[in-house]
C-alpha cells in the first residue's frame, strides 16, 4: 500500500448539505471532547448538548483523556489537533494501539491550521476524519452523522493503525475530495465479522 485516501478536508471544502428532516438519536451516546482551550472545550460540549448528547466528558489535555479512555466507554471522541505537549494526533495514535476497549472508537479530529511539520502526523494518526475549522454547529453535526455511518474496517500495520483510508462504500462527506492510490484488492483479504488478517 502506498498513497491512500486521506480523511482530511481542505479548508472551506465540503459545505454541509444536511437534510433538515433527517432524524437521529445521540441521547444515549457518550461523547468525549478533548481541547486544551477551555472556551472551545465548553463551546463544543454545549453544542453537543444541543444535539441531544447527555453524557459528555470534557478533557483539557491528552493525558486526562487517555486516563479516562482506559476506564470509561466512549462512543465518539472529538479531539483538538493542536495541543501543547502531547497533541491530538499523539492521543489518537496511542489510542489505536492501546488495546483498551475504546481503541477503535470513532474519532473526529478538529484542526485549524496544520503546520507543515505535522502534515504526515495528521495523515497517519488514525482518526476517522479530520475536520477543518472553523467548526460551526452545522459542520460538526454533519461530520458526526457521517462518522456514525462510517463502516470502514479498522486496520493495523507496523506503520498505521486506524480506519481503512480508502473510502469504499460510504465515500467522504459531500464536497470533500478523496484521493485514491493503489486500491487493495478485497479478494486477497480474509475478513471475518470481528477481524481478519491480510498479508
Amino acid at each position: 500500500m502506498s498513497d491512500r485516501t486521506e480523511p482530511v478536508e481542505r479548508k472551506g471544502a465540503g459545505a454541509p448539505n444536511l437534510n433538515p428532516n433527517t432524524v437521529f438519536n445521540l441521547s444515549k451516546a457518550t461523547v468525549m471532547v478533548v481541547d486544551d482551550e477551555p472556551f472551545s472545550l465548553r463551546l463544543t460540549a454545549q453544542t453537543l448538548l444541543g444535539f441531544g448528547v447527555v453524557t459528555r466528558h470534557q478533557c483539557g489535555s491528552a493525558d486526562d483523556a487517555s486516563a479516562l479512555l482506559k476506564s470509561h466507554p466512549v462512543d465518539l471522541l472529538i479531539v483538538d489537533a493542536e495541543m501543547p505537549g502531547k497533541d491530538g494526533y499523539d492521543l489518537v495514535n496511542w489510542l489505536r494501539r492501546s488495546g483498551v476497549d475504546n481503541a477503535w472508537t470513532p474519532v473526529l479530529m478538529i484542526a485549524g491550521h496544520t503546520p507543515a511539520s505535522k502534515v504526515a502526523k495528521a495523515r497517519d494518526c488514525g482518526a476517522n476524519f479530520i475536520v477543518a475549522r472553523p467548526l460551526t454547529a452545522t459542520l460538526l453535526l454533519d461530520r458526526i452523522l457521517w462518522v456514525a455511518k462510517d463502516l470502514r474496517g479498522m486496520l493495523e500495520t507496523s506503520t498505521y493503525a486506524g480506519p481503512d483510508r480508502r473510502f469504499r462504500e460510504l465515500g467522504p462527506p459531500e464536497g470533500v475530495a478523496e484521493r485514491r492510490g493503489d486500491p487493495l484488492s478485497r479478494g486477497k483479504l480474509n475478513l471475518s465479522a470481528e477481524g481478519g488478517t491480510a498479508t
Binding site: 437521529f24 453535526l141 474496517g153 507496523s158
Partner: protein, 156 residues
C-alpha cells in the same frame, strides 16, 4: 507487510438509529440556543488575543528569541481563528488563518519578516471592527493573500 483487520460496527452507528431522537433542524436550532450565550465571551477572547498580538508585534524579538516569538504569534492567530469561527466571522478567521500560514513559514525558514506580520495584525483589527462594507473586507483578504504569496518559500 502484515495487516490485521477489525471489521466491527461502532456502537455509535447503532445508537444513532435508535427510536426517538430529533430532526437535524431541531438539533441545530437547539445548538444555536445553547451556544448563543458564548458569543459575547468569544468576542472578548478574540479582542484580548488581538491586543496581545499587537503588543507582541510591537516588540520584535532578538534572534535567539525568534522561535518562541513566532510560536506566540502562531498561537494567537489560531486562538482568533478557532474562537471566532463558530460564530460566523469568516473574514476574521480567514485573516487569522493566513497569519498562521505566514508564521509557520517564518518558523520553518528561521527568519523574521516583520512587515507582513504587521500587515496581518492591522487587517485583523480592521476586520474585527466590522464597519467595513463586504467589498472592502474582501479586498483586505485579497491583499493578505498577495502578501502571503509574496513571502512563499521556494520549498513550499
Amino acid at each position: 507487510m502484515s495487516v490485521n483487520w477489525v471489521m466491527r460496527r461502532s456502537r455509535l452507528s447503532k445508537l444513532v438509529n435508535q427510536p426517538g431522537g430529533v430532526t437535524v433542524s431541531k438539533a441545530l436550532a437547539e445548538a444555536a440556543v445553547q451556544t448563543e450565550e458564548f458569543r459575547a465571551e468569544a468576542m472578548t477572547v478574540v479582542a484580548a488575543a488581538l491586543d496581545e498580538l499587537d503588543a507582541v508585534v510591537a516588540a520584535p524579538p532578538a534572534t535567539e528569541d525568534l522561535p518562541a516569538w513566532l510560536e506566540r504569534v502562531y498561537f494567537l492567530a489560531t486562538r482568533i481563528s478557532d474562537t471566532a469561527g463558530p460564530f460566523g466571522y469568516e473574514d476574521l478567521c480567514a485573516a487569522a488563518f493566513s497569519l498562521c500560514e505566514l508564521a509557520d513559514r517564518q518558523r520553518r525558514g528561521r527568519a523574521l519578516d516583520l512587515p507582513p506580520i504587521r500587515v496581518h495584525a492591522g487587517a485583523l483589527r480592521l476586520l474585527l471592527a466590522g464597519d467595513q462594507p463586504p467589498a472592502a473586507r474582501k479586498a483586505v483578504l485579497a491583499g493578505l493573500a498577495q502578501v502571503v504569496e509574496r513571502t512563499r518559500n521556494p520549498v513550499d
